[in-house]
């Protein structure tokens, strides 16, 4: 692997979006959890919901801030790392990115101030509306950015004039073939990531004896969500895979480690893919299963990696990442189903009691959603290589002309900062779980707030 401008740009951009996606993956769903806590509070007037809301709002604010600062970096790196991308696809990616910034980012960032600090300054209804708008904003953000990402994977609704992509049908551009699957897959992934984060931190509080009344409420909501969403995620993932087989067969070949085109291809459970030898060492295989899963026919034909010439992705990272994603997902399915069963049996109790080993498992899986999400993104993004726009534009054509030492220098700086932030973020969450503020502060009354009269 040569560390030229292209490779360094790739690593830098990948480092940045990997760091960025950690936080929106939590906030997209966490905000809907907050809205749920808030609505339950209004309905039941049970202060436990208030405590849950208060604690998780603080987590949300912290997570959101990290998402914002790392997201700003992205709007610059399109130009610094991939200047050719916007020059070629600007007519399509421009409006999609534009709508992301306009409708979503502002909705989030502006109403966030009122959502976080506005209690007592605005009426309960305005506050509830602000919370709803932030939740809607984060979801809309995901809608537009995933639409663009999906278009890069499965471009549609365009024509190419003088090397530039010109949109011909905006509906086809936005709702391109892989978009519905990717959007559903991502929203479910977010729900799971947030659920396991909540369940994990609540489990840690139960272990450390630092629970509030809100802990029990939040834990139930999170585990119930995870248990319902996880099976749906397997269905969505399977449909997404079939869609990928249709539109990006080289990616599927790398995921499954199928080297030669064959009928009745076996499913490789694990092994060590070797691209030079075009084989998977020590492969554990189930005969005909890959064909059955992917084509729903025991003797269905799967195109092999070698049939794509140099237009296929690097096999090993895609192959391993796919197995990590499925493995973590399966573990999440087992743990969430078992915990949900235990909690269902004690649904009439005010406080929950779970066996300590299970609490340890849940704590250990606090960030399992991150692992599954990142490996899923590596499958789909590395699986798109060597193309930026699948089948049409290669990454090498659009890369920067900045001198490699500049990219290397800034890459190291970014990595140091990201490392510091990640360690601090996890440390702060742990500290917050161990020292929850027991009582939500009494809302300030209108006296002394100047002209706030809203």
């Amino acid at each position: 692997m040569d560390l030229d401008a292209l490779m360094l740009s790739r690593i830098q951009f990948a480092a940045n979006i990997s760091f960025h996606i950690l936080f929106p993956t939590i906030t997209i769903a966490l905000c809907w959890f907050l809205l749920f806590f808030r609505i339950r509070l209004v309905r039941t007037r049970d202060p436990a919901w208030e405590e849950a809301y208060y604690f998780w709002t603080k987590v949300f604010a912290l997570t959101f801030a990290l998402g914002v600062v790392s997201g700003i970096v992205m709007s610059f790196q399109f130009g610094t790392n991939w200047p050719g991308f916007m020059e070629k696809t600007g007519n399509i990616s421009g409006p999609l990115l534009g709508y992301e910034v306009l409708t979503a980012f502002f909705l989030e960032a502006s109403f966030l101030g009122i959502m976080l600090f506005g209690r007592g300054r605005v009426s309960e209804r305005v506050h509830l509306t602000a919370t709803f708008l932030v939740a809607l904003g984060t979801t809309l953000s995901a809608f537009w950015i995933l639409s663009l990402n999906s278009w890069m994977q499965t471009p549609a609704g365009y024509e190419i004039v003088d090397g530039q992509f010109i949109p011909t049908d905006w509906f086809a551009v936005v709702f391109n073939p892989s978009f519905p699957y990717r959007f559903a897959h991502k929203l479910l992934a977010s729900a799971l990531t947030a659920s396991f984060l909540i369940a994990g931190l609540c489990a840690w509080q139960l272990l450390k004896g630092t629970t509030t009344n809100g802990t029990h409420k939040a834990m139930r909501a999170a585990v119930a969500t995870a248990a319902v969403v996880m099976p749906l995620q397997f269905i969505a993932g399977d449909l997404h895979g079939l869609n990928t087989l249709e539109h990006q067969p080289a990616k599927v070949a790398a995921m499954e480690g199928v080297w030669e085109t064959e009928r009745g291809a076996p499913l490789t459970l694990f092994g060590f893919p070797d691209e030079d030898a075009a084989t998977t060492h020590f492969a554990i295989k189930i005969p005909k299963m890959a064909s059955l899963i992917l084509t729903h026919d025991m003797d269905g034909e799967i195109a092999g990696i070698r049939s794509f010439g140099d237009g296929h992705p690097p096999v090993a990272p895609v192959f391993y990442a796919f197995r990590i994603m499925v493995g973590v997902g399966s573990l999440m399915l087992l743990v969430s189903a078992f915990t949900a069963y235990r909690l269902w049996r004690q649904r009439r109790e005010k406080r929950i009691t779970l066996p300590r080993p299970l609490l340890w498992v849940l704590s250990a899986m606090t960030f399992s959603g991150w692992l599954a999400t990142l490996s899923g993104w590596y499958v789909t993004e590395i699986g798109r290589q060597p193309f930026v726009v699948y089948g049409l534009v290669r990454a090498g054509e659009v890369a920067t002309t900045v001198p490699p030492p500049f990219i290397g220098l800034t890459l190291v700086a970014y990595l140091l900062v990201y490392g510091l932030l990640l360690v601090t973020y996890v440390g702060v969450l742990k500290y917050m779980a161990e020292n929850p503020v027991k009582h939500a502060p009494v809302p300030v009354t209108s006296a002394g707030l100047g002209k706030a009269g809203v």
């Binding site: 208060y54 709002t57 603080k58 604010a61 959101f64 801030a65 990290l66 600062v69 700003i72 970096v73 709007s75 610059f76 399109f78 130009g79 610094t80 200047p83 050719g84 020059e87 007519n91 990616s93 421009g94 409006p95 990115l97 534009g98 709508y99 910034v101 306009l102 409708t103 980012f105 502002f106 960032a109 502006s110 109403f111 966030l112 101030g113 976080l116 600090f117 506005g118 209690r119 300054r121 010109i166 949109p167 905006w170 900045v402 970014y414 900062v417 932030l421 601090t424 440390g427 702060v428 500290y431 917050m432 939500a440 502060p441 809302p443 300030v444 002394g448 707030l449 002209k451 706030a452």
Partner: protein, 335 residues
């Protein structure tokens, strides 16, 4: 100009939106960064009040930068790539500064107490890095990315001046949003930074013809020179208005402290329009006009619909938010 078609107008509209977004960013995040730059001068409880005074706003303020760069990215992709590659290192420095500053808001109060001092320093360092880098970028942009000694000296000059201007803005903000001892401190900070900033601004204005001879003809040709005269005159007036208020503490006590902030904003606005007048219609000086950099009319139309609907809404709820958090800053509570 009146005979232009829609296809020629559209890029200008987007240029205006981009300019508005960047100007709004510089003013709004300018006071945030200024407050960050003043942070080491305050004691511990004052630090909390200072940061609380910008807490509800900074996130939305920073989003104007995303809008400005976003318009550059989506409407003028050719210029986006050219400008950002030329400014590669200062852009990275600014981003790291903004990251540090942004996360310090939360980390300084949520991390265990022994780390608070570290995150306070990170808040200051991030603000300094971001504002100097922005100054450097502005200077480098004006000189057309000139890497010669004159160009670098000019960039360095602005890299020092912009933080000073932000500091004045931040002090003005604190005069409005705080009271008592902290407010008096803010007045003295504004007083201290005023002259260095004023001298630097005059020096930069004087040096601009050196780095950009074409600008001279735009400003000093007849009869424009008379039409443009009010710009520097109003600037001078605003400067002395600030000076008058900060040297008369009784004026601040009588409730006229807002003049410092308002007059500084006026200086920023005038400087911005002066710069815009000097550059127009180029988007990259001497290399690319706004029309050459734009994407197709059809695609601009699609984005235009979104901008026409959302920009007014954004402005309305920005105003709404400032009304909600009107008044003197106190301890912020989540709720």
């Amino acid at each position: 100009m009146l005979g232009m078609t829609w296809a020629q107008w559209l890029p200008l509209i987007f240029l205006a939106v981009m300019g508005l977004a960047l100007l709004t960013y510089v003013i709004l995040d300018g006071y945030d960064l200024g407050v960050g730059l003043l942070l080491p001068l305050a004691d511990d409880s004052e630090k909390d009040t200072m940061i609380n005074s910008i807490g509800p706003f900074w996130d939305a303020n920073e989003t104007w930068l995303v809008l400005g760069v976003g318009v550059l990215l989506v409407a003028f992709p050719m210029a986006h790539g050219l400008v950002l590659q030329a400014l590669y290192l200062p852009v990275a420095a600014m981003l790291i500064g903004l990251i540090l500053r942004g996360v310090a808001f939360d980390f300084r109060v949520k991390a265990p107490l022994q780390y608070k001092a570290f995150w306070n320093r990170a808040f200051f360092a991030g603000s300094l890095l971001a504002s100097s880098a922005q100054g450097w970028m502005l200077g480098s942009y004006i000189t057309g990315f000139d890497k010669g000694p004159l160009g670098l000296a000019f960039s360095l000059g602005i890299a020092v001046t912009l933080p000073a201007a932000y500091t004045l803005l931040g002090a003005g903000w604190l005069i409005m949003k705080t009271e008592g001892a902290l407010q008096s401190k803010a007045v003295s900070w504004a007083h201290r930074v005023l002259w260095p900033m004023g001298i630097a601004l005059v020096a930069i204005s004087g040096a601009t013809p050196l780095v950009h001879p074409t600008v001279v003809s735009k400003w000093f040709a007849m009869p424009q020179v008379f039409a443009l005269m009010p710009v520097p005159l109003t600037c001078a007036l605003a400067f002395f208005a600030v000076r008058w208020v900060v040297t008369h503490p009784d004026l601040v006590r009588a409730g006229h402290g807002w003049v410092v902030f308002a007059a500084t904003v006026l200086i920023f606005v005038l400087a911005f329009f002066g710069l815009a007048y000097s550059i127009f219609p180029d988007i990259v000086i001497g290399r690319m006009t706004v029309w050459q950099a734009a994407i197709s009319t059809a695609s601009l139309n699609v984005v235009f619909v979104g901008v026409a609907v959302t920009l007014p809404v954004i402005i309305v709820y920005t105003v709404f938010m400032y009304r909600v958090f009107w008044g003197k800053a106190r301890a912020l509570t989540y709720g």
